[in-house]
């Protein structure tokens, strides 16, 4: 809901199409392209008449950008996929690059660090945008942690296929977070937040995880 609030605050007319389910990324990433293309077609059919599509998930947005790879032999679907991809955006990218807004009048008290989710960073090239947005939040003390741009170890099914390796990578991230001495870790992907938050919770850490939309939706109390 925070995403909706944020979009409305900047003047967008927000709609949620209840027919939607999933972008199909888990299937695509595990190699099940037939299933993934079914999801993609569904997504395209539901969304292709929308003016703009915004997602709070960097990885889902990236998946949409990759839809065309599911139709190598079908030019029509490929073009429809490209059209939808062209108007699909990650929340941070949408705010800063399209709407040219980086201050939403948000307020949040806390020492905060940003974790670069891999898809958002490397597929969508969003590095400065979330940092700009966070730095403009009143009361927020922004801290850059070491290796903010290194993977958290989630990787979708990787986290359960190779849980020990995933945990090892995660522990490096936790180490960086603890060194940064923050109250909150923020990211643009729920999967990263689940991975990081899950470990922080298990070790009894007081550090919280939040999605950037939640921060941006926060107001002075």
């Amino acid at each position: 809901m925070s995403t909706v609030e944020v979009l409305e605050r900047v003047g967008c007319d927000v709609d949620f199409d209840e027919r939607q389910t999933c972008c199909g990324q888990p299937a695509f990433n595990t190699g099940y392209r037939r299933e993934a293309s079914d999801f993609a077609k569904r997504f395209i059919e539901i969304f292709e008449d929308a003016e703009t599509i915004v997602s709070p998930s960097g990885s889902c947005t990236a998946m949409v950008k990759h839809f065309h790879e599911l139709f190598p032999g079908d030019e029509e679907w490929r073009h429809r996929a490209e059209s939808v991809a062209a108007k699909t955006h990650d929340l941070c990218g949408f705010l800063v690059n399209l709407l040219k807004v980086d201050d939403l009048g948000a307020a949040f008290s806390g020492r905060v660090t940003w974790h670069d989710a891999c898809h958002g960073l490397r597929d969508l090239c969003l590095r400065d945008e979330p940092r700009q947005l966070l730095r403009n939040v009143k009361g927020l003390e922004f801290v850059e942690m070491t290796n903010a741009d290194v993977c958290c170890g989630f990787g979708g099914t990787f986290s359960v296929k190779y849980p020990e390796i995933s945990a090892g990578i995660l522990d490096n991230k936790i180490e960086a977070i603890e060194k940064a001495n923050v109250t909150t870790v923020v990211s643009g992907d729920s999967s990263c937040l689940m991975q990081i938050g899950g470990r922080l919770s298990r070790i009894g850490s007081k550090v919280k995880t939040m999605h950037i939309a939640e921060i941006l939706a926060s107001r002075e109390t």
Binding site: F16, E18, R33, C118, G155, F158, V160, S166, R202
Partner: protein
């Protein structure tokens, strides 16, 4: 020589994770690399432009590989180089063996060559009673230890100085020491003798220039200059993809490879060899033989996604950047090519069924793609191989079946919003079995067996419960209340 196999990657990885010495060595590598890379990139005006050009050169070459390869051969033959063609590793080993025997050599000196590791040349030579002596320090170390390299550029990176010292004490008979210069000096002293005696030197090739027939080999130690300059016969094993069209193309790769590989602007030595010596009493070998190796490479050309595998210049940067490699090291991959590039070329060279785990041994973070000097899109390649594995029937049918079933279920449950909502409601009920104090802690026993991912996840992490109100419910409430803020 026995070593771990790609088939057992998961097991190998778990063992590697339990090894604190390895962990320290890998940490050292990762930390070192970040800083070296930063320094190296800053000494070039347009790093990104260079990468783009390098990839363009490779793409051009690969798109016309037959032409450039034949041009390379023709021009090198003009200089007296002899060429041999090998469809696979076994054929290459046979050819090298014949060439060595023809020189009456019982010992050969070898410089570092991933291609010769790939074809297990040393095993073939030893089986025929020929003693191969690795002369690159890292390769010599692993030869003494009866291991395969764990990294493309620094083969013994998994070993500490202490372990290497112990190895030397045992195999070479020196006194225990912690002095790297003494250890290095030991290698120099022993291997120097071999250089003086050897009749045959075997090397790899970094680049072959089609326009001139030149072979370029880069190094820091000087053993390649020795191997290719002292013995009467020089045998070079070269993958067919190592060709570049023009001599000046080398400028691009000489800027990228040392920086990406070791953070240097240039390695200590580059040897550009274009044919055998002109006069008999000139310096250098009397004969130069190049063994061109296919071993699965030509097949990789058959799709644009797999073709880019052949652009690799073996710099090792992707290994250094990879969070998975940093955790498990090279041996876990069970291949002489480990890390991200190894995960994609090993299945292609060895066959998917022998290395079907490797394409999944990645979180798809893309750090490798970011550092690759020739812009190989390794995540794209990994996904391509995963699709091949999922669509064809690889072995390990048991796990495949349950995974297939899971994805079919996911596909059908989430294909209709109605089913999706139902699924969420059902999950909210069922989660009561595992949610305690607002979170899902460690799940084991019967439930973990029923839902393995839950067990795997919760071994190290808590899981959040499904929210009491779904987004859809909140959305509907919002609509009903007429958009109240």
């Amino acid at each position: 020589m026995h070593h771990l196999t790609s088939d057992n990657f998961d097991q190998n990885a778990r063992e590697a994770l339990r090894d604190p010495v390895l962990h320290g060595a890998l940490r050292n590598l990762a930390d070192n690399f970040v800083e070296r890379r930063r320094i190296a990139m800053s000494s070039v005006d347009d790093w990104e432009g260079l990468r783009t050009r390098a990839r363009a050169i490779k793409d051009e070459t690969l798109a016309h590989l037959d032409e450039y390869l034949l041009q390379f051969v023709e021009n090198a033959e003009k200089g007296g180089v002899k060429f041999h063609w090998a469809r696979d590793g076994a054929e290459a080993c046979r050819i090298v063996l014949e060439l060595v025997k023809a020189s009456g050599a019982e010992m050969v000196v070898k410089s570092k060559s991933m291609a010769t590791e790939e074809i297990h040349l040393n095993d073939a030579l030893e089986a025929a009673g020929i003693e191969p002596i690795e002369t690159d320090l890292g390769e010599w170390i692993i030869q003494l230890a009866h291991e395969i390299p764990s990294h493309i550029v620094v083969p013994a990176i998994h070993k500490t100085k202490g372990q290497i010292a112990d190895l030397f004490v045992e195999k070479v008979g020196i006194e225990k020491t912690g002095d790297v210069d003494v250890l290095t000096g030991t290698a120099r002293r022993i291997l120097r003798q071999k250089f003086a005696e050897a009749k045959v030197g075997i090397s790899g090739v970094n680049f072959g220039v089609a326009e001139t027939g030149t072979i370029l080999i880069l190094e820091n130690e000087g053993n390649i200059r020795m191997t290719t300059g002292l013995p009467q016969k020089h045998i070079a094993v070269m993958g067919i993809e190592k060709v570049v069209p023009r001599f000046t193309d080398l400028d691009v790769f000489l800027k990228l490879l040392p920086r990406s590989g070791t953070g240097q602007r240039l390695t200590a030595y580059q040897s550009l060899i274009t044919g055998v010596k002109k006069r008999p009493d000139d310096e250098g070998p009397d004969e130069i033989h190049v063994v061109l190796l296919d071993n699965g490479r030509s097949k990789m050309l058959s799709h644009p996604v797999t073709r880019q595998s052949l652009a690799c210049i073996r710099c090792g940067a992707c290994l250094n950047a990879c969070p998975v490699y940093q955790q498990v090291g090279g041996h876990a991959y069970g291949s002489v090519y480990p890390g991200p590039i190894g995960a994609v070329i090993t299945p292609q060279l060895m066959g998917l069924s022998k290395a079907k785990q490797l394409p999944y041994a990645s979180s798809l973070c893309g750090a490798c793609r970011e550092v690759c000097p020739v812009k190989i899109d390794i995540p794209e390649l990994l996904l391509h191989l995963r699709a091949e594995i999922a669509d064809n029937n690889a072995s390990n049918v048991k796990r495949k079946f349950s995974e297939r079933l899971a994805f079919k279920l996911y596909g059908s449950m989430w294909s209709r919003a109605g089913r999706y909502n139902f699924g969420t409601k059902a999950a909210r009920v069922m989660q009561k079995l595992v949610v305690r104090k607002g979170k899902i802690g460690k799940v084991s026993g019967f439930i973990a067996k029923l839902v393995p991912p839950l067990g795997a996840w919760t071994a190290w992490r808590d899981a959040p419960p499904i929210a009491p109100k779904t987004f859809r419910q909140q959305w509907r409430e919002k609509l009903r209340s007429g958009n109240g803020n």
